[in-house]
Subunit: 302 residues, 2 copies
C-alpha cells in the first residue's frame, strides 16, 4: 500500500556536543520518507528552493520514494539551525529560515491521489485539510502537529483532527492539546476529538499508545551513544506508518508492532548526524534490532 | 525464603495537590516490608521513638512481618514532611526531623541472622556493612542508596557495593554514582563496582535493569489518578525483592518478573496516601495487575 506524506524538506545545521553538521538534508518529510520506504512506496509532497540540487536528492534515489510531488520553486530552501545541550535533552533553535516553505501550498499530483495511507506532517492544519480534500478515500490518515498550531490554530487543528485516525505527538504536545497533565486523561480527551489512536512519543522514555483496545507501552532502545536526536520523531512516524501500510491485517496487534518498528527506526536515526545512519541501514539491521526490542521487553507470567 | 530489611520507620506528613496526610506511617522499611510481605516472610530492623504506639504497628500485624528487630527507644520517631508540586513530578522537603533515627545502630536479632535475602535500605553505607557483618551467608544482597551518601560517603559506599548483588537506584542517582549521563555507560561503571544487577527506577517512565544477560525495560503502569508518590520506590523494592525471595529458581527470567512485580506494587502504592492502598490490597489484585502489565507491553514478532 502506498503512503502519501506531506511535510518539510529542509537543510539542517545541527550542533551537538559531538560535532557540527552544516546544511545537511533534513525536514520532517525527509526523515519520514526514508524510514517509511523500507516498508512501502512513498509519495512525497514538499517544496524546496532552487538551491536544492541533485546531490540532495541522492538520499531519496534508489528507494521507492516518488518525487513527482517535490516542488522546486524560486528562492531558498527551508533552513533550520539548532544546538543541543550537553545531555541532548534540550535544544535551542538558533535560526529558522522558512524561505520557500513559508508559502507552501501542497499540490497533490494526480498519480498520488489514490494513496492508501496519508501522513500529514507538521504543517498548518488548514493545509493538512486541503491535502485530505485532494485525495481519494485513504484507508488510514495519520497526523503530526506541534505547539505552534496547538496554541495558535486550535480550532483549525480540531477540525482537522476529526478526519484523522492516528495522531502522533510528544508528551508535552498531548498535554497542551488536551489541557490535562495526566496522560491517560489527556488521551481520553484527545481521542474524543477524532483520532481513535493516539501515539505519545516520550523520547528516551519510549512511547505510549492509547486506542480502542487499551494501551500499549514500549521503551526506547537503550543506546550507549546518542549522537544527534534530530529527526527521531519523524523517523518514528515513518517506521510506524510504513509498517502499518505494509501490513495485511489491521487492528491492535498490528499497531503495537508498528510502534516497535517506529522505535526501532528512531533508535538508528539518533546514532549519527541527520539521515546518515538511516541511509546505510538494511532491512536485516532493522529486523535484528526489532528482535532486540523483544528481548528487551519480554517477561513471563507468574 | 525470609527477607531481612534494614531501613527507616517514620512518620510522614505529606501534602499533594489532592490533600494532606498528617503524621501517617511511612519510612523506607515500612513500605518495603508491607510490599514484600505478600511474597515472603520479612524480618524488620528499624528504630522508632516512644511516640510510636500499637496503633502504628497495626499496619504490620496480620502479615508475615517479624517485629523483633523494631527497636523502641526514648525520644521521637523520625518525621519527614514534604510537599509535591501540582504535577507530582517534584517535591520539596519542608522538614526532616531524624530524631531517634540519627543514632540508629542496626542490631540484628539472633533469629534474623540466617535470613536468605537481605535488603539494605537507604542508610549510611558504613551501617549497611555492619548489617552484613551480622548476618550469615545470605543468598542475595540488594541495596538502596541516595545522593546524600553518593556525595558524602563515596568511598564507604563503594566498599559496601562490593558486597551487593543488586543495586536499586533512580536515574539521577545512577548518573551521580557513575559520573556518566548515558544510562548504558552508567550501568557498566556501576556494575564494575560490584553489583551484578543494576535496577534503575525512572518513576513514571518505568524501570530499566542491566545484568549479565543484557538489559530489560518495563514501563510504569499508566494510571489515571496518581495521588501520592511517597514510598513508590521502596514499594517497588519490596515487590522486587519479595518476588525474588519467593522464586524457586534464579536468573534473568526471574529478575525480569521481579521488576514487573515491583512495578505492580508501586502502581498501587501511589493510588492513595502513604500505605493506605497497600494495606487493602489482595494477592488477587496484584496478580490481576501483573497480567495487565503483560497486556500493556506485549507485541508479536514481525
Amino acid at each position: 500500500m502506498s503512503i502519501l506524506v506531506v511535510g518539510s524538506v529542509a537543510y539542517d545545521t545541527v550542533e551537538t556536543p559531538f560535532g557540527k553538521a552544516e546544511r545537511v538534508l533534513g525536514g520532517s518529510a525527509s526523515f519520514f520518507s526514508v524510514a517509511a520506504s523500507f516498508f512501502a512506496p512513498v509519495n512525497l509532497v514538499a517544496v524546496v528552493g532552487d538551491d536544492f540540487g541533485d546531490e540532495q536528492l541522492l538520499a531519496f534515489r534508489g528507494r521507492p520514494i516518488d518525487l513527482r510531488g517535490l516542488e522546486r520553486t524560486a528562492g531558498a530552501t527551508f533552513h533550520w539551525q539548532g544546538r543541543y545541550s550537553w545531555d541532548l535533552n534540550s535544544r535551542e533553535t538558533i535560526r529558522t529560515d522558512l524561505n520557500v516553505f513559508e508559502f507552501f501550498k501542497p499540490r497533490i499530483p494526480e498519480s498520488y491521489r489514490s494513496s492508501d495511507v496519508v501522513f500529514l506532517g507538521n504543517i498548518d492544519p488548514v493545509l493538512q485539510r486541503e491535502v485530505l480534500a485532494q485525495v481519494e478515500k485513504p484507508r488510514l490518515v495519520a497526523c503530526d502537529t506541534m505547539n505552534f498550531w496547538i496554541d495558535g490554530s486550535r480550532d483549525e487543528l480540531r477540525e482537522t483532527l476529526r478526519q484523522v485516525h492516528v495522531l502522533l505527538v510528544n508528551d508535552a504536545e498531548a498535554r497542551e492539546l488536551s489541557g490535562e497533565w495526566n496522560l491517560v486523561k489527556a488521551a481520553r480527551a484527545i481521542r474524543s476529538l477524532g483520532p481513535r489512536t493516539l501515539v505519545v512519543k516520550k523520547g528516551e522514555h519510549g512511547v505510549v499508545m492509547f486506542g480502542d483496545d487499551g494501551s500499549f507501552a514500549a521503551p526506547a532502545y537503550p543506546l550507549e551513544e546518542v549522537f544527534d536526536p534530530t529527526g527521531a520523531g519523524d523517523t518514528f512516524a515513518g517506521g510506524f506508518v510504513g509498517y502499518l501500510a505494509s501490513a495485511r491485517e489491521q487492528g491492535d496487534a498490528v499497531l503495537r508492532r508498528a510502534v516497535v518498528m517506529g522505535s526501532t527506526l528512531a533508535s538508528f536515526c539518533v546514532e549519527a548526524f541527520g539521515l546518515d545512519r538511516l541511509l546505510t541501514l538494511s532491512r536485516a539491521d532493522i529486523d535484528r534490532r526489532y528482535r532486540r526490542f523483544q528481548q528487551l521487553t519480554h517477561f513471563e507470567s507468574v
